[in-house]
Amino acid sequence: MRKILVVVILALVSQMAVAQEKNKKVEMQVAGKCEMCKARIEKAALGVKGVKYALWDVPSHQLSLVLDERKTNPMQVKMALVEVGHDTKELKATDEAYNSVHPCCQYREDSNDDSGHH
């Protein structure tokens, strides 16, 4: 009896480990430089169905996400980001998308944090 219980519990635990998490924390680097970029990045990330939380930190360029793995995955967020002109480690925005961002957000020339100038 006890053995069965252990097996059941183990099965449950391992099930949880592989199951797709409803609230998965994901961090990624996204190129950008200012508060305007921040708004654009967060808006694009939250525009992906299944993304619940998005916070892009200006100085570190780190995007913190909480997403529902049953509905989306980090690569889909990256696809949405390059679409609005922000490069990620894996995917790069087209020149067309990149050129569509506000001139002051053109991070490819100089990605220093200049949030103080906005």
Binding site: V18, Q29, K38, E42, K52, Y53, M75
Partner: protein, 749 residues
């Protein structure tokens, strides 16, 4: 059989449909490269075309599908803890990729410290924050005096004796504001008259001023706005801080902060404030003290607990205050003259204890979800007499608020919901009349916030409360922000507020007069009067600009408060003050136009023009609210030198307030020598301060108030006969103290 059949149909459908698309897709499986017999599939691996905009992630079986267009040929497969692999692919096909475990982590997590406050987006509410640097511009001395450099709040003297500053917003006095300390209602009930002077200036970290209808989270009482004070925190305040202040008129203040970090998680702070004025000042020669003799000791102990890994934050506060004031004629001695008819005087002794606890929990994996609990207990005792009129009030208050924050779908849709319980027990005696009572209320609130991260955001809140004297009622509040173009913001708001007026404590300046007190309605639940009920509507526009290479902003706002019911305080008869329910209209319209601009490097100017139209239907007819300047002008100039490496700096600050003519309460029925004009003439008030910062740990400041030396000629009506029928100290429209200089220092480690 049928099950088998159905399965077959479904799988063949999948097979055929995938066949149909296989022309444009690369399919595959990502596995772990190992020598073991069984191969482990990697789910969650990234698969993407190099330098492209297309990528995917492997599913639970390690399988993936990615579009093939021919434009990109190099397919990268990466997985945390494994070496990435790049494949060259020239045609849509099915591949199998084996990744080798790596000792290095692919993604480097950047650790970095965040600012203590991070304001990501523009809020829908019209909020102005006064930070600690701004607070230092008005060096003296407590919360009531912290608004001198801010145009949104008007500061007036409440009466001719106590030296108490009274604040107004949108043309309405502080009882119509919700004044909170770290979001717990603070200055209310018995502490309404002097409560703002019980928070020493050095304890304040920042002040948030929200104009118009507030949030439903903090209750139903706010009508014209909310002022929230954040106090210094043991973890972030200086280990030791000492501030000394003295002025020409014999007011001395001493503030000491001691903060200690006990463990990684616990810190504590002890804050001690004392002030004293023992010098008897009478510059206008009317025989009355221009400012009260005063003595205050104020001690607070705070405990802060922080465990960011587990998501807990907690504060625990206790505070004890003893404040004594003596008012009246110069040679008044309480022991000799109390209860006599020779020398007029009064004393206001306040003892207050308050404590509060706040616990916040942020779900570690859900940074958008949190639970907060706030509870406070206070016991406020005021024993006082004003000549022959005694006024004693005890107020015991309990407040608890539980708030749950989360999202709907994603963080563009946030909500706050919770429950509030409050108890207020009043033990109040006006001369021989007893007005003791108790109030109990329970409420529930829900607030939804929408933010599309670009142009639009709004907050819609609703609360339902049930109160033993106010009944059961609904309080809706709504705020909206829209960004029509760059650097602009358009806001609108409306909301309801309801409150039980504490007529005596809010109007106790009227006790120092020969006026009779009359409550001329009897049917209501609050002193025989009905609860006050008002709606506030507002719109504002903010535009940032750059002119000659320097930035600035222009803001315009308009607010209207419409009373459905108000307790009218009618003191248009110089022999009487009467309280009655509003019959007819009572409204307050306020308009403000402000320009802030950086004139030169480190040199900033702020100017504002304000117009008020505040009218009440008295029983004798509609009148402008008395002692309210309809036109006001505000100007502030601030200059600071460049900060040196050791923190040394000079700072200069100059403020001008101009008050237009003010209507004075009617005194025409008095004999001629006891009359005021119908209107008080316009005047200006100027303040300036210079601060010399020697290093990060030491600075001194000197300043002057009322530099133009403008004073009210007669602040006390009938000063020659204070026990006579025309004595009145409540009509004060200008400073009583003339030009005054002060100096102080700040030392911190």
């Amino acid at each position: 059989m049928s099950y088998m059949f159905r399965c077959a149909v479904v799988s063949s459908a999948i097979f055929f449909s995938s066949l149909g698309f296989s022309q444009e897709k690369v399919k595959g499986k990502v596995l772990e490269k190992s020598n073991a017999e069984s191969e482990l599939s990697l789910s969650g691996a990234s698969v993407y075309w190099m330098n492209s905009q297309t990528g995917t992630v492997t599913d639970d079986n390690g399988s993936f599908e990615i579009e093939y267009t021919g434009e990109y040929k190099r397919l990268i497969v990466s997985y945390m803890g494994f070496e990435s692999d790049t494949l060259t692919i020239n045609e849509p096909k099915t591949v199998s990729i084996r990744l080798k475990a790596s000792n290095e982590l692919n993604e480097v997590v950047v650790e970095q410290k965040r600012d203590a406050t991070e304001k990501a987006f523009l809020t829908p509410q019209n909020v102005v924050t006064i930070n600690s640097a701004e607070l230092l511009k008005a060096a003296c001395c407590n919360l009531a005096e912290s608004f001198e450099t801010n145009p949104s709040i008007d500061v007036n003297l409440s009466d001719g004796l106590t030296g108490t500053k009274q604040i107004q917003m949108l043309g309405l006095t502080s009882p119509y504001l919700l004044i909170t300390q770290e979001n717990i209602p603070m200055v209310r009930g018995a502490s309404q008259a002097y409560g703002l002077t019980f928070t020493p200036g050095t304890w304040i970290e920042s002040i948030q001023i929200s104009k118009g209808a507030g949030s439903v989270v903090n209750g139903y009482e706010s009508i014209s706005g909310q002022i929230n004070t954040e106090l210094v925190k043991p973890l972030t305040d200086n280990e030791l801080f000492v501030n000394g202040y003295g002025n020409q008129n014999g007011r001395y203040e001493l503030n000491t902060h001691l903060n200690k970090k006990l463990t990684d998680k616990w810190s504590t702070g002890l804050y001690i404030h004392g002030n004293k004025r023992s010098q008897r000042e009478d510059n206008n020669g009317d025989g009355f003290l221009d400012a009260p003799l005063a003595d205050q000791i104020n001690i607070m102990n705070r405990w802060q607990f922080q465990d960011p890994e587990k998501g807990w934050v907690s504060f625990f506060n206790v505070r004890f205050l003893n404040d004594e004031k003596q008012i009246g004629q110069l040679d008044y001695e309480p022991e000799l003259h109390n209860n006599g008819s020779d020398v007029w005087g009064g004393e206001i002794d306040t003892r207050r204890f308050d404590s509060s606890v706040k616990v916040g929990y942020v779900f570690p994996n859900l940074p958008f979800q949190s639970i907060g609990f706030q509870a406070s207990y206070s016991n406020h005792l005021q024993d006082s007499y004003f000549g022959k009129r005694s006024y004693n009030i005890g107020h015991e208050s309990i407040y608890t608020n539980l708030i749950f924050n989360s999202i709907v779908g994603d963080t563009r849709n946030k909500f706050k919901t919770g429950l509030t319980f409050a108890y207020d027990g009043y033990d109040e005696q006006v001369s021989i009349d007893d007005y003791s009572r108790s109030d109990r209320s329970a409420g529930a609130f829900f607030e939804y916030g929408y933010e599309n991260l670009e142009k639009l955001s709004f907050t819609a809140g609703l609360r339902i409360d049930t109160h033993n004297r106010l009944g059961t009622y609904i309080t809706p509040r709504f705020h909206l922000r829209y960004t029509p173009w760059e650097r602009a913001s358009l806001r609108g708001s409306f909301g309801r507020g309801k409150r039980a007026a504490n007529i005596f404590t809010e109007n106790q300046q009227l006790f120092s007069s020969a006026r009779r007190i009359a409550i001329t309605d009897t049917g209501g639940s609050v002193y025989g009067l009905d609860p006050e009920d008002a709606w506030n509507y507002g719109a504002s526009f903010l535009q940032g600009f750059t002119f000659l290479g320097r930035s600035g902003n222009i803001s315009i706002d308009f607010y209207r408060t419409d009373f459905k019911n108000q307790v009218v305080v009618d003191w248009e008869d110089p022999q009487e003050v009467s309280f009655y329910n509003l019959e007819g209209d009572s409204f307050s319209n306020s308009f403000q136009f402000e320009i802030d601009y950086e004139l030169a490097t480190n040199f900033e100017i702020r100017t504002a023009y304000k117009y008020y139209d505040v009218k009440v239907d008295y029983r004798r007819g509609e009148l402008q609210k008395p002692l309210q300047a309809q036109n006001r002008f505000f100007g502030n100039l601030a200059y600071e030198t460049n900060l040196k490496n050791n923190g040394a700096q000079w700072r200069f600050d100059f403020t001008l307030h101009t008050f237009g003519k003010q209507r004075l309460p009617d005194t025409s029925s008095n004999p001629e020598s006891y009359r005021f004009e119908e209107f008080a003439s316009p005047y200006s008030n100027m303040n300036a301060q210079i601060t010399k910062v020697f290093s990060k740990s030491f600075e001194v400041y000197v300043g002057g108030e009322n530099l133009g030396n403008t004073t009210q000629q007669v602040p006390v009506l009938g000063a020659n006969d204070p026990f006579g029928p025309y004595f009145d100290t409540s009509i004060v429209y200008a400073p009583i103290m003339g030009r005054m200089f002060y100096a102080g220092f700040r030392y911190r480690i």
